[in-house]
Point group: C2
Chain length 360, copies 2
């Protein structure tokens, strides 16, 4: 039997054109990152319809934004979380929440985001669709607009599914003055809710639960609404804010003590933590204070405004379990001390290295 010439040509053609795949292929191919027609297709078919807005539509090299005279906050973060999807969120929700939170803890109103994608060849396009949907949903929640982006594709084994960088621009309202240098003895520390939920939820998901049955969910959420409510009610009595992400609560409180030069005393029984989170951390030999959060804020505030701030926070869905967890003393030793339920004391140190790799 002879093979018709056109069949031979077709087969040769398929083999010879690894950079020319079916554009409706269900997986990411290297050619999606080439800056040519297939990159356009990916952007037009998957990314733009999900993030649609006037500025992104312009499709220029940069987004052009109108700003008022004043102070602008600018921040960046890269997300490499593994797995890409986990209980309570995914890398897309994380990329929006994390960068928005870096802006809002500086007292800014988050306005614009950029999204830079690194996709691994072979990534399921359905995963990409879900992640972009999730970016869109979190952006709506945070009232930010994705105005510019970039997509790169690397070969199998040169990434791990998808990495996302998001950079953000926010506007700081006149009158907002936050800074560690404003911290004084007597200032109090509030925490907006339970610790370690994000880190433990990702960790349990990754390692097949370590045999622990759990309802743990990541707390990944944009904090703009909660923080605006605090600033509106407590004004300049709010001294400083930070979100305890990588490095956990330990990282933030040890920084606060060290950089203010004051002694900071934390009451362990007041630090909110879910029993299941504590249990999971104990099973894995981790200190929940060291574990990442993605929807919590640490607020340093003048003592007169503590009750007011707690009330505002508890009225907001993201601050229901807010507590006062400690205060700054007059001693100038730059240390953060944890006082346990039975009156024991230990110095909190910044975690040394990587407690939980690729948690965010």
């Amino acid at each position: 039997m002879t093979v018709p010439a056109n069949e031979v040509i077709a087969k040769t053609g398929d083999d010879a054109l690894p950079t020319n795949p079916n554009p409706h292929s269900a997986r990411v191919v290297l050619a999606h990152g080439g800056g040519g027609q297939l990159t356009n297709d990916l952007i037009r078919e998957i990314i733009r319809p999900r993030l649609s807005n006037g500025i992104l539509e312009a499709f220029d090299d940069s987004a052009v934004l109108e700003v008022e005279k004043g102070r602008v906050a600018f921040s960046t973060d890269t997300y490499v979380v593994q797995p890409i999807e986990f209980p309570g969120g995914d890398i897309g929700r994380l990329a929006v929440s994390g960068t928005v939170n870096d802006l809002v803890v500086c007292g800014a109103r988050a306005k614009y985001l950029s999204i830079g994608l690194i996709l691994e060849e072979g990534l399921d396009l359905d995963v990409l669709r879900r992640v972009i949907d999730s970016i869109a949903e979190a952006a709506r929640e945070a009232e930010v607009t994705v105005v510019t982006g970039d997509t790169k594709v690397v070969a199998r084994g040169q990434a791990d599914g998808i990495y996302i960088n998001s950079a953000g621009v926010g506007v700081i309202e006149p009158g907002v003055e936050l800074g560690m240098e404003r911290i004084e003895a007597g200032d109090c520390i509030l925490l907006s809710g339970t610790i370690a939920d994000h880190g433990m939820a990702v960790m349990l998901q990754r390692e097949d639960g370590f045999g622990i049955e759990s309802e743990l969910q990541s707390d990944a959420a944009p904090l703009g609404g909660l923080i605006r409510a605090i600033l509106e009610r407590c004004g300049s009595d709010v001294v400083f804010m930070r979100d305890p992400t990588r490095g956990g609560l330990s990282g933030v409180v040890s920084d606060l003590a060290e950089l203010s030069g004051l002694h900071l005393a934390l009451d362990e029984p007041n630090i909110p933590i879910r029993p299941e989170t504590r249990y999971a951390a104990e099973m894995l030999g981790l200190d929940p204070l060291d574990v990442a959060n993605e929807g919590k804020v640490v607020v340093v505030i003048r003592p007169s405004e503590v009750e007011e701030a707690l009330q505002v926070m508890r009225e907001h869905p993201l601050g229901r379990k807010a507590e006062k967890i400690g205060e700054f003393g007059a001693k100038r030793d730059g240390l953060c001390e944890l006082i346990t339920e039975v009156g024991g004391r230990r110095i909190i140190q910044k975690p040394y290295g990587e407690e939980l790799p690729r948690i965010c």
Copy 2:
């Protein structure tokens, strides 16, 4: 012979503490990305001294910038070029130049950059030092300030040495109005210099030169100075600008024709190209029109200002070989046609996929 107890302990200790290595280790370890003490060390010892400036020193979650009322340009790009270092530059120079160029082609004065690093475990810290030095040098050249950053570390085999995202903020001077919608029949296209140098230099370096001896160097450079000079001299007669990066000159000119809806005719003999670049491209079966540039700009300008603009460009070190390469006709077919030396004609199409993977 019995082994002294302290030796056994020392050995056990070394093996048991993979996340607690010597902070002066010559390679990146996972713990460098944990957000703890070792992340601080990396930032304090390697990154901050090289990029030192008042805003970065503040070390908050966001940089706080003062802006005037007006238009701000915002752009992002991720760089995954392989190899990390190549003739004429490295991934650091590329990350600064590329994002600065995306801002300046929109008529902005580039002001602020963020740098987001993904480091692969095992990366030589000396390579990281050189890349950060290179970021600092290119930033000085471009007169931009790196104001905020982020560092993540992933395990071996989950990246390829180093990936960099840079996002940038620039200020658009009042009166600058650039846009594809302004393009009219009769407008001319200028190109600031030789094409395909970046892509071919990286490609030759990567593949051991394919046996081609070559002096080819990447053209990676920030274009702010050149573009400001053109805008100052030619004002509102400058209609539109774009840098021909991924997708090469073909990508830009096919976009210009398609999106303006006009016919664009290019004179092939006028398109500057080095003989060695042409030779290298021929050897690899590539069309130099499709190959990435990182220090060139395509300028659409009213015909009356062509001579003036060419003179300004040729007076600048980055525009010495500037040429008029084509013009828009009245026919509304949205096609870009290349007219060859011997009068042949072909339609230029946007490259389909990945001509040269990981070129930027």
